[in-house]
Subunit: 131 residues, 2 copies
């Protein structure tokens, strides 16, 4: 299940793309337009900055703006950054302990194929497709 972290991140990027005026856009405005708690968005946006999805500037006239063109953001990259990974079962998560049953596990290929479908779908979609 994709959480608010990933979903809100995408909405922030859409908002920034559609309200782009060349300068920085204050989080207050984004939060108001998107009807999301500004305080909660701060946490999410902070991770987006450190993850290289956008840049921030403090002080008057500050705010956030995109650091790439919308077609250069894949949805998969955004979700993977915000959700950790989109592994659909625990044993395929990035930080999972190696499963001792993996070799003979009859369900593993099912999850692996689904993970691949998921990966391919979200990496084929870009921010520009959502505008």
């Amino acid at each position: 299940m994709i959480s608010t972290r990933g979903r809100y991140a995408i909405r922030v990027l859409i908002d920034l793309a559609e309200n782009d005026n060349g300068g920085y856009i204050p989080l207050k405005d984004i939060a108001a337009r998107q009807d999301i708690s500004k305080k909660y968005l701060e946490i999410i946006v902070k991770d987006m900055v450190s993850g290289g999805l956008l840049v921030g500037a403090s002080g008057k006239g500050g705010g956030y703006k995109l650091c790439r063109k919308p077609e250069e953001y894949s949805v998969g990259e955004i979700l993977e950054l915000m959700e950790g990974s989109f592994a659909t079962v625990a044993c395929l998560a990035d930080d999972a302990a190696p499963c001792p049953r993996a070799k003979e596990c009859q369900t593993l290929p099912l999850w692996e194929e689904y993970d691949k479908i998921t990966h391919d779908y979200f990496y084929s979609k870009h921010l520009s497709d959502l505008l």
Copy 2:
């Protein structure tokens, strides 16, 4: 993320299919072979019986057995029963309150398409494919 409820349910069905001897198989044996807590499996298996995935019989010689042929179980049906639904975002869950933003939401089609891909994938796979 698919939880142990759905994953263990599939493993129980695989175990029953592969150890089918025409009669009932005690949960104790399934739990031992699959290395899953029998107590926890009781909860899962109970829901599988009430959901029509298998039948149980009490007493000596009792246990569980499949009530259909393996090719008549779709993975999608199993997961949907055990996980509630496999909606990938909260606003598409079966019990979700209608989202006031749905009409103008620019991300909704992204999630809807992914939900459809997920649905189609899991309903195309059957227990017989996993044996």
